[in-house]
């Protein structure tokens, strides 16, 4: 009697039913602990390091769009106090200069945006300003792309993108910041 029972037990397979539960536990552990970190941001290419400062004084004043941000996060655009909400439109006007005004850029290829901030400027403001300048160019490229090819800039092949960027090159020059307001 006892003998037969042992043999029966030996023939039994290991119960695999709980395997699913174990796997589930592991699965839930991974689901909870891992963060799918999505990283988005404004991609920029910094100028390579050189010891001498680029000389912006040689350029004609009408071709330079100077944006200064002070430690109080105020904006001085070409000598006037400006609101950041007007920055995008004004920058676009400056670059394209549709009315051929004397005080705005000669041509989009000559337009240079000079951005200077203080060491006390908050990063938030800096990024907002940078974002607006970048947005101005993106909008110009978009309008141009729609005018020439009838599609958004994003949907263009690389060759056409290059062509547009050659006509409207994005030149944002950042000067060494002043140091008045760092805490």
């Amino acid at each position: 009697m006892a003998r037969t029972r042992t043999r029966d037990r030996m023939n039994n397979e290991v119960n695999a039913g709980s395997m699913a539960d174990i796997a589930f536990l592991l699965l839930i552990f991974f689901l909870v602990t891992t963060t799918i970190l999505e990283d988005k941001g404004i991609l920029v290419r910094l100028p390579p390091w050189s010891d001498e400062e680029p000389d912006i004084a040689k350029l004609k004043t009408r071709n330079v769009y100077s944006v200064l941000v002070n430690a109080q996060n105020q904006l001085l655009v070409r000598g006037d106090l400006k609101d950041i909400r007007d920055l995008r439109k004004d920058t676009k006007d400056f670059i394209v200069n549709p009315e051929r005004r004397e005080d705005l850029s000669e041509s989009p290829t000559k337009a240079i945006i000079s951005l200077k901030n203080d060491r006390g400027t908050s990063y938030e403001t800096y990024l907002e300003v940078y974002n607006e300048l970048r947005a101005a160019y993106n909008e110009i490229w978009d309008t141009e792309s729609r005018k020439q090819y009838g599609v958004d800039y994003e949907g263009l092949p690389i060759a056409n993108k290059r062509a547009i960027r050659a006509d409207f090159p994005m030149i944002i020059s950042e000067a060494e910041p002043t140091n008045f307001g760092e805490e």
């Binding site: 695999a16 039913g17 395997m19 699913a20 796997a23 589930f24 592991l26 699965l27 991974f30 689901l31 602990t33 891992t34 963060t35 799918i36 970190l37 999505e38 990283d39 988005k40 941001g41 404004i42 991609l43 920029v44 290419r45 910094l46 100028p47 390579p48 390091w49 430690a71 950041i84 909400r85 901030n117 203080d118 060491r119 006390g120 400027t121 908050s122 990063y123 938030e124 800096y126 990024l127 907002e128 940078y130 974002n131 607006e132 970048r134 947005a135 993106n138 060494e176 910041p177 140091n179 307001g181 760092e182 805490e183």
Partner: protein
């Protein structure tokens, strides 16, 4: 005739659950492979600002992270409240950046090194001074592809 009657007499067979573990294991492996474990714990408080002109960073293996922000609450006693730089999993200064970048380059195949991006995850409240120092160090280290990490802004400005 007898064939049919026999069949109806049997109880309905249960669905076999033997393959359930395999299915779950497949899911498990999928998640294990797809998710990237965060390699460093945040020592500083980072709340990135909002922006609209965003680009998504594609290849995570080519991205290194530089965090700037106030030390987290549990470090406030030892490190104060002045914004600090975090490289990898420790507090650093801008002088450590060159080495950090060089080390990161070592782990990347030579033909991909040009596409290495440094993602600056900077708190919005930080002043530009420290950010500028980091940018200068990055330029000196020859690392010019930089991403200012930001969140998507939905509405209008302010």
């Amino acid at each position: 005739m007898s064939k049919f009657s026999k069949k109806s007499g049997k109880a309905t067979p249960e669905v076999s659950t033997a393959s359930l573990p395999d299915i779950i294991f497949m899911l498990l492996f999928f998640f294990m492979v797809v998710t990237v474990l965060r390699d460093s714990e945040l020592l500083v408080q980072v709340n990135t600002p909002q922006a609209t002109e965003l680009t998504k960073l594609e290849e995570k293996s080519l991205v290194n992270y530089i965090y700037i922000g106030k030390p987290a609450a549990r470090f406030a006693e030892t490190y104060g409240t002045k914004p600090r730089i975090q490289l990898g999993d420790k507090f650093s200064t801008e002088k450590d950046i060159a080495l950090f970048i060089a080390n990161f380059r070592q782990g990347v195949p030579e033909n991909r090194r040009a596409s290495i991006t440094s993602s600056l995850r900077v708190d919005g409240k930080v002043t530009m001074g420290i950010v500028q120092d980091v940018k200068t160090s990055l330029r000196k280290a020859g690392q010019v592809k930089v991403n200012y990490s930001a969140k998507k802004r939905a509405g209008e400005l302010k």
